[in-house]
Each structure stands twice: as C-alpha cells, then as structure tokens.
C-alpha cells in the first residue's frame, strides 16, 4: 500500500509528464526515498498506481542501478571505482572499508547500518578518490578520514 505522502509525491511527478507511465521511474524513486529500497510488493503497488503491469515497471526498475531492488542498510556508501579514482588509489579506500565494516561490495553490515556499493564516476575527478554516503559527497579521501566520516551515519 502506498502512503498518502508517497501518492502525493508521485502525483506531482505525473503532473510533469504528458503520459502517466513516463513517471514510473520517478514513482519508484519516491518509494525508495521513503522505504530505502523497492521490494517486490512495493513494486507491484507502484505498478498498480501507475497503471502498468509489474513486468513493465520491473523491466525499467531493474535497468537502473540507483533503484535498489534488494534491501539496503540505513546508509548506502557509494564508492567511486572509475578511472581517476582508480589512478588516485581508491582501492585502498575500498580495502579499508571492507575490512572496517566486514562487508564486501553489495553487502550490508549485520547491524543494518551500511551497505557498500561500487559506483561509477561521481564527476569529481579532480578531487579523487571520492565517495558518497546517502546524499553527501566526500572527496580527496584519505584512509585516516574514513572512520570520522562513517561515525556521522548512525
């Protein structure tokens, strides 16, 4: 069941496009904003609201990597693994995070606090290496800053 708040936001997205279906991805994002990820059940609810079949909507949902079709933690760490960050040694950051959090890419910490995902170029290559946690961008990373940064995310 979509909440009233979700429906309201989805309606707004629908109002910006000429056909309802065109707002399908936006609707998924709305639900993800509220629930962190899009479960099969949420997907079916959104599909019904958008007057689409679950297949039609899931086809789109699974195409885009920023729609999470599996559960994620309270905070999603998106580590840039593209070229400039690679040159600047992002792999050290990855190893540190993996060790520190005890999770590999795609996994969520046992306490449900963090999910670690690789991500392509964050568009801040002059300040590599970089990562995003939720909506926040961190650049010019060094290993010793990581623990401080992680602490901010309960």
């Amino acid at each position: 069941m979509l909440t009233a708040a979700e429906k309201h936001e989805i309606d707004k997205a629908i109002s910006l496009v000429p056909v309802r279906k065109a707002a399908g991805i936006e609707a998924l994002k709305v639900v993800q904003d509220h629930r962190r990820w899009v479960s099969d059940e949420s997907l079916r609810d959104v599909a019904a609201y958008m007057e689409m079949s679950p297949e039609e909507l899931d086809s789109v949902a699974t195409f885009y990597n920023m729609i999470f079709r599996r559960p994620v933690g309270r905070h999603v760490i998106l580590l840039c693994d593209s070229i400039s960050c690679w040159v600047m040694g992002y792999e050290n950051i990855r190893m540190h995070l993996t060790k520190q959090l005890g999770i590999a890419y795609g996994e969520t910490t046992a306490d449900g606090r963090y999910t670690l995902l690789p991500n392509c170029c964050l568009g801040t290559c002059d300040c590599a290496p970089a990562l995003m946690i939720d909506h926040d961008l961190y650049r010019n990373l060094t290993i010793d800053q990581l623990d401080e940064i992680l602490k901010k995310y309960e």
Binding site: P18, V19, N65, S82, V87, C120, C121, C125
Partner: protein, 430 residues
C-alpha cells in the same frame, strides 16, 4: 583572457541568485532574443558563431537546431543533457552548481530558436548540490517572468522541469536519455529518424550539453565574431578543460579553445606530481584515444585532437603516469564500459565483458599470447556503425590506443606472468 562562462562564479562557489546574475548582465540575451529576433535568425547567428556541441561529439549546434521543423505543432521539447557520467569528466558540475541561471538563460534562447515549449534538465542523480541550485533557479526565473506563459510579453511560452536520473551512463546518450525521460529503459534509438524530427514522446526535440547552453547567452550578447575570436583556433569559443590524475593541482579551468595539452598539464595543473613522469592522457574523458608525449603540443580543439588520432570529447584530461599500469588503467575503463552497456546490441553486450575478462586476466599475470589478438579483433569490430550506439566504439578508443602506445606493457604482463607496477604506485598525496 575572457572567461564568459565562469568569470562570475563566486569564490565560495555558491550559485548566483537571480539578482546577482542579472547584475552581471544575466537574461539580457533572453530579452534581446525575444524582443529583437526571430527564431530563424537566432539559429543563423548560432550557426555563424561556429559553436560546436560540448557534449563530446562536437556537432555544430546551429546546424543541429536547423533540422527541427519550425512549423511543427506543439509540443516540442528541449533537453539539457546534464547527465555527465563520462569517467574523468567534471566540467558540467561546475556550471550547474555555480551558475544555474546561465544554463536556464541558454535554454530559453535555444527553446526560442526551435520554438520548443517544454524543456527538461536531465541531471544525474549524484549532483545533489546542482539539483538544489537548479530547482531554485527555475523557481526564481519563473517568478521573474523568464519562464512560463508569455515570457516578457513576447507571446513565447516555456516551462522548464528538472528531471533527475537514476543512474547509468547510457542516459547521457541523447536518444537513450529520451527513452529514460519517457520512463523507459535507457536503450538508445535508431537514427534516423533524428530526435529533431521524432524525439521525446515522438515530438521534435533538441538535446544539448550544459556547457553548450551556457555559451549561448554570450554569443547572443556579443555576436558570433566575438565568440570566434575567443578561441585560438578555428573551433570557436572558450572551453572548460579539466585535468585529473597524478598532477600537482588537478582541476578545471575555462580557457580559450585550442590551448595545448602541455599548457594544461604544466601551467594549469602544476605539472606531474614529484617523482612521476607523464606517459599519456585521455584528452576528453574515458572514451577517447590516448595521446602520449609526442602529442603534448597538440592544440586541444576538435580538429587538432582528431588529427592527432583522438577526440576532444569533453576536454577533461585523465593522466596516466609512469608508475601506473596501463593495463590496469584500461582494465578499469573496460570494466566501466562493460558495466554500463545497456545490453541492447550484441557486440557491446557480449564483447565488452569479454574484453574486460581478458584484461583482468592479463593484469593478473594470467594472460596468453592469443589474448592480444582477441583484443585487436574487438577494437576492430566494435567500431562506429558496427554497434547500435557510440558507447562501445568509445570503449574501444582507449584500448586500441593503449595497445598501440603501451604494447610492450601488455606483452610484458603476458611474458612475465605478473604486473611489474604492483607496489610502485604512489599513494595519493594531498
């Protein structure tokens, strides 16, 4: 040195408010266009200015617009491509975050030229700061009457909406972007028909890059000749260049079109980090061919970079230094491309993962003699026209040039069954 696009950016990078923007001449171009010009003459003027698209392909902007049937019934669409996901590229971010009104003004000019009534800014999801800036700027422009119905009493209507992406590099490709805006999978469309004829929702549509739009107000205000003289070469205007990799001062700068690679690296980026030597660079993002030492004096414009065997692309250099493994470098790129393939056409969907696997195995010291042949066959057959869109051909550019310029590195990996760069990398110093 004139820097029309960036000169008003505040030191603290806070976006210019409408008022601040107007104080430095903002929206003059809109007034001029709406009050003094007709759509055709705007297009003609832009054609004369020789502005070439800053999204990577360098297609003439005025020319592109001229294919839109002016008398086609509404709606017609205009889209600002702010998806910027080409690895190594971070130029549009600067414009989006700091001077959103400049983009909006450029979009109004373009929309008028093609008589579009609805416009979208297709912004990549990761650009949160830019998202806020643009949302606010659109609101401001609307309340000041630059957007909406009957703009400045001219009878011209335009609405602009912000649309944030949901990930995937393909969304930057203009036809895939349109599919994405339609709420579909971001697979590209066949051309022809071009979006100018059948684009968003089957209507005439123009897609331009953010930087392209930002040039427009200045061209309108100062004329095509002024725009041309900004450049050091035949390709007009200034360009936002960038440098990333192990240089002393990575960054981005607006410079006259046609500065040399050497100037960029040495003067603006402060030269290579201590102890490192320049081995090569991708001149315009991940999908351009390597240029190497012999090309350092190549002028960074569309024509000369092409003559040197690469593409200007987005004009943002990614530097390969002598302590970084070219095989690993290319492996990282091909991993990216294989991940970002949309999966629509065979060569890209199946070829890129194969290339990545070969490179991974060479990098790990498990390569075989035949592997180089296999890589060659991919670079030959994943070329333009063979795949459905330009993603896979782009992916082959760094690979084919790496095989040309750094062949001995590949061969050494295979012979020695190891990577001799391991442990040599200097960790990032800040």
């Amino acid at each position: 040195m004139e820097k029309p696009l960036t000169q008003h950016i505040r030191a603290d990078k806070r976006p210019l408010t409408l008022k601040e923007y107007e104080q430095v001449g903002g929206y003059e171009a809109v007034r001029k266009v709406l009050k003094e010009m007709d759509p055709k003459s705007v297009t003609t003027l832009v054609k004369e200015s020789n502005l070439r698209g800053r999204g990577g392909a360098g297609f003439g902007t005025g020319m592109k617009w001229s294919f839109v049937p002016l008398n086609a019934p509404k709606p017609k669409y205009l889209v600002a491509n702010a998806d910027e996901m080409e690895p190594g590229t971070f130029k549009d971010r600067i414009l989006l975050e700091s001077t959103p009104h400049q983009l909006i003004e450029g979009m109004i000019v373009a929309a008028f030229a093609i008589q579009a009534d609805i416009a979208y800014v297709y912004l990549r999801w990761a650009y949160k700061t830019a998202g806020h800036a643009i949302t606010r700027a659109i609101e401001e422009a609307k309340s000041a009457g630059y957007l909406g119905k009957n703009i400045l009493g001219s009878g011209f209507d335009l609405e602009i909406h912000l649309h944030t992406g949901t990930g995937r590099y393909m969304c930057g490709e203009e036809t895939a972007l349109l599919n994405s805006l339609e709420g579909k999978r971001a697979t590209p469309r066949a051309k022809p028909p071009f979006p100018q004829v059948s684009g968003l929702f089957g209507r005439p549509t123009i897609v331009n890059n953010v930087e392209t739009f930002c040039c427009l107000p200045h061209i309108i205000n100062n004329g095509p000749d002024w725009f041309k003289q900004l450049s050091r070469t035949g390709d007009a205007g200034t360009k936002i260049y960038g440098v990333s990799g192990k240089v002393k001062r990575p960054g981005a700068w607006e410079l006259p079109m046609g500065v040399t690679m050497r100037e960029l690296i040495e003067e603006h980026a402060g030269g290579m980090q201590d102890g490192l030597k320049f081995r090569g660079a991708l001149p315009g993002g991940a999908s351009t061919d390597f240029l190497v030492e012999q090309h350092l004096d190549v002028k960074m414009d569309y024509t000369d970079v092409a003559a040197a065997g690469s593409r200007l692309g987005t004009g943002t250099l990614i530097i390969l230094d002598d302590h970084t493994c070219p095989v690993g470098f290319v492996r990282n790129l091909e991993h990216f491309f294989a991940q970002e393939s949309c999966g629509f056409c065979t060569p890209c969907r199946e070829g890129l993962p194969w290339v990545e696997k070969i490179l991974t195995s060479i990098d790990a010291g498990e390569g075989r003699e035949e592997d180089l042949q296999l890589l060659n066959f991919h670079t030959k057959y994943l070329g333009p026209g063979n795949t459905f869109c330009a993603l896979a051909p782009g992916a082959m550019e760094p690979l084919q040039s790496a095989l040309k310029y750094f062949r001995e590195d590949f061969e050494r990996h295979i012979q020695d069954k190891e990577c001799s760069y391991r442990g040599k990398e200097v960790s990032a110093v800040h």
